[in-house]
Amino acid sequence: MEEVLFFIAAIGALGGAIGVIAMRNPFYSVLALIVHLFSLAALFLLLTSAFVAAAQVVVYAGAVMVLYVFVVAYVGGGGESAWEPIPGQRFLAPLLGIALFIELAVAVLSSSLLALGEDGPHVQAGFGDPAAIGRLLLEKFLLPFEASSILLLLAAVGAIVLASNRRQENA
């Protein structure tokens, strides 16, 4: 059962990813990414990480993707021309992609770490649920937590700086 779910989710994630890079129209790419994200959330659930899965759906598929959709709608999603101005890019990029995958896969599969080949240890109930994660966030990872909040603030400021129409305002 788990295997089936995994493969379904995996195909969804991978299909979504391929969709992102294959779609001509950015709008469809965004949609493909949403598929990808939901599939990922499913995978997270398979890994008994309920909180992460939830956050994935809420934060990403919810908030971030909405932002994307808006921006795509704002700037318009024109297709790209098929002409490749960089010599060799078309040829080298897939090559490198494959190489990257093989290297990473080899690293994982040839590792002497036995746990990799297993399903993972038995975990207590509550592993990965909001309470556990929340505790970790406020105890051990308090600093990253706080820092990321400041980062969010800064990013918001940045977005305003970049996207606000100050120029016309000043003029």
């Binding site: 960089i86 890019q89 080298l92 490198l96 080899v106 690293a107």
Partner: protein, 669 residues
């Protein structure tokens, strides 16, 4: 006063004279400069006499002294002092040098009177005398080299005295460079001596040499050969002689003093001085003797055909020095030195007379154009004849005794050395012929235009001076005054100088007549103490046979010259045509200049050109520029990769990662 003190004074006066005249060239009136120059040399001569007397007052065995002023450069085991060595040989040389120099200064006093560079001339001349005396008195091989080089430089300065004349400057350069080659020989010899004997000092070296070296060992042979390089360069022996004829570009007193009487005999002195070494290396000594012989013959042939008056005399100088070198190399030390002395007298005289004549010819030196000066310039002619007689070894003159003594010694030594006697006489015959060739071509006959003018008006109305070699007008800013002051008849100092020398040339030989007296030999004998060669003495019979043969040959030579140049003046031309190749060879100076040009000068210039045009540009600069270009090319590559496409940056980043990851995977265990 001790002999060494006198010797220091001998050195001091010419140096002072040179400096005073040189520094005070603006302030001193011309006459004063001339007087200072002459007097300082005369004082040196007087001090030389002082040294002589001082030496004579001592035991013959103790007649050698060393003295030094200060440590010149003595560290690291090299002990070089500013030291002199006084013994009969050096005093003998001092006397000749200062004596003849005094007369020549006197001559120059008149001769150079209207020259622009009068001060300069006397300063140089005094400096030359100083250098020569330093060479003679030096107490070690380093100081010897110093004197040796100073002399070379003085010679350079005086040859190119009229420095806007390019033939003169070129000749000066030639002389200097060849002299430097000689210096190098000396320096290398000094190194070898130091390496083997651990000292540069004459005293130590001569004392130790017989203990350290075995006869004909390669080192001592090498030392002697290197010394010979020095000697040959300075004494114009084959093949390093080519500078001497060119040196005639200098003013005539210079030719007279330096290139006849003193400097060129330095090689003879050197061999005599280092005879201890040469006796240990008989091979080297023989080589020297053969070179001397060759030079004497070759130079004589050239002198036979030269049409340039001064150059002809110059070749005769070479030839005579060949005798001396031959003499001192085979062991006839005293005889060699004696010939050196007499040669100084008559050769200086000949040049002086020639200078007078050339002046009358408005610097034209071609004997083909001269004739009839016997009537025009009586005093000059008489002295010229005196000189020529001595040179031709006319019986009774100084050259007669000195030359024959060398040949007699060779005969007495016997064996192989008989060759020297025989060929020496051949040379003597040629000597007589060429010396009287000059006399007969110049003095008798119908006066040429200039001579006639002299007879008519007492002076020559000369045109603007021209360089006889190139024909271009001279730059009179630096000299070349009118001839009237050059003519011996018209200047008392010149006449005095020539007169004294004429007398000496005629009678100078009388101090050493076999069986009658032997002043020179007796005085010099302590120097060759312990030398087996010096002990060889021709018997009286041999001596007189030699003298007899010599006299006959001299007369024969003069006779031939008379026939050729007076009785049948058309004969030389016919001979010339008959012996065309030989004449061409002689007239072209045996092609020595050409050979040197071909073997040394041209390759050097070709290498220089190659270095300059090719090597420097393509290799040295090419290396730099090539590196720079490579680096710049690499920069171009980097800039090309930096294409501005962000996706290409991403590509490189990922490629870099892939590479790095690959490395790590490969290195993982």
């Amino acid at each position: 006063m001790s002999a060494t003190a006198w010797a220091w004074l001998v050195l001091l006066f010419p140096l002072l004279g040179s400096i005073v005249i040189g520094v005070g060239f603006h302030a001193l009136p011309q006459k004063v400069a001339g007087i200072i120059g002459t007097v300082s040399i005369a004082l040196a001569f007087a001090c030389g006499i002082g040294a002589l007397l001082s030496l004579l007052g001592e035991d013959p065995e103790a007649r050698h002294h060393a003295s030094s002023l200060w440590d010149y450069a003595s560290v690291a085991g090299l002990d070089i002092k500013l030291g002199i060595f006084v013994d009969p040989l050096s005093v003998f040389m001092v006397l000749i040098v200062t004596g003849v120099s005094t007369l020549i200064h006197l001559y120059s006093y008149g001769y150079m009177q209207s020259d622009e560079g009068y001060h300069r001339f006397f300063s140089y001349l005094n400096f030359f005398v100083f250098s020569m005396l330093l060479l003679v008195l030096a107490g070690n091989f380093v100081l010897l080299t110093v004197g040796w080089a100073f002399v070379g430089f003085a010679s350079y300065a005086l040859i190119s005295f009229w420095y806007r004349r390019e033939t003169a400057t070129r000749a000066g350069m030639k002389a200097f460079v060849i002299n430097v080659v000689g210096d190098i020989g000396l320096v290398l010899a000094a190194f070898l001596i130091f390496r083997e004997l651990g000292s540069f000092d004459y005293g130590t070296v001569f004392e130790k040499a017989p203990e350290v070296f075995t006869t004909n060992e390669w080192t001592i042979t090498a030392i002697c050969l290197l010394l010979l390089v020095g000697a040959f360069a300075k004494s114009a022996q084959l093949p390093l002689h080519t500078w001497l004829p060119d040196a005639m570009e200098g003013p005539t007193p210079v030719s007279s003093l330096i290139h006849a009487a003193t400097m060129v005999t330095a090689g003879v002195y050197l061999i005599a001085r280092t005879h201890v070494l040469f006796e240990l290396a008989p091979t080297a000594a023989d080589i020297a003797a053969f070179v001397g012989l060759a030079t004497l013959l070759v130079a004589a042939t050239m002198a036979l055909v030269m049409t340039d008056l001064k150059r002809a005399i110059a070749y005769s100088t070479m030839s005579q020095i060949g005798y001396m070198i031959m003499g001192v190399s085979i062991g006839a030390y005293s005889a060699g030195m004696f010939h050196l002395m007499t040669h100084a007298f008559f050769k200086a005289l000949l040049f002086m007379a020639a200078g007078s004549i050339i002046a009358a010819m408005a610097n034209d030196q071609n004997i083909d154009r001269m004739s009839g000066f016997g009537k025009a310039m009586r005093f000059t002619s008489i002295t010229f004849v005196c000189g020529a007689l001595a040179l031709a070894a006319f019986p009774g003159t100084s050259g007669f005794f000195s030359k024959d003594e060398i040949l007699a010694f060779a005969e007495a030594r016997g064996g192989m050395y008989l060759i020297f006697t025989v060929l020496g006489y051949v040379g003597a015959l040629m000597t007589a012929i060429y010396s009287f060739r000059l006399v007969f071509r110049v003095l008798p006959g119908r006066p040429c235009k200039e001579a006639q003018e002299l007879i008519d008006t007492g002076h020559v109305a000369h045109e603007a001076p021209k360089n006889p070699a190139t024909g271009e007008p001279e730059d009179t800013d630096v000299g070349f005054p009118g001839p009237e002051h050059h003519i011996a008849e018209q200047s008392l100092p010149m006449r005095v100088a020539m007169g004294v020398l004429a007398v000496l040339a005629l009678v100078g030989g009388l101090i050493q007549i076999p069986g009658v007296d032997d002043v020179v030999t007796k005085f010099l004998d302590p120097v060759w103490e312990g030398s087996p060669l010096a002990a060889i003495e021709p018997t009286l019979g041999e001596d007189y046979t030699g003298l007899g043969i010599g006299g006959v040959i001299a007369l024969l030579g003069i006779g031939i010259a008379y026939v050729l140049y007076v009785r049948r003046p058309e004969l030389p031309r016919r001979l010339e045509q008959r012996l065309r190749p030989l004449h061409t060879l002689f007239a072209n100076k045996w092609y020595f200049d050409e050979a040197i040009d071909f073997l040394v000068v041209r390759p050097a210039l070709a290498i220089g050109r190659f270095a300059n045009r090719t090597f420097e540009r393509f290799v040295v600069d090419g290396l730099v520029n090539g590196t720079a270009e490579t680096v710049r090319g690499a920069g171009g590559v980097v800039r090309a990769v930096q294409s501005g496409f962000v996706r290409s940056y991403a590509l490189l980043l990922i490629a870099g990662f892939a590479g790095l990851a690959l490395y790590f995977l490969l290195s993982s265990s």
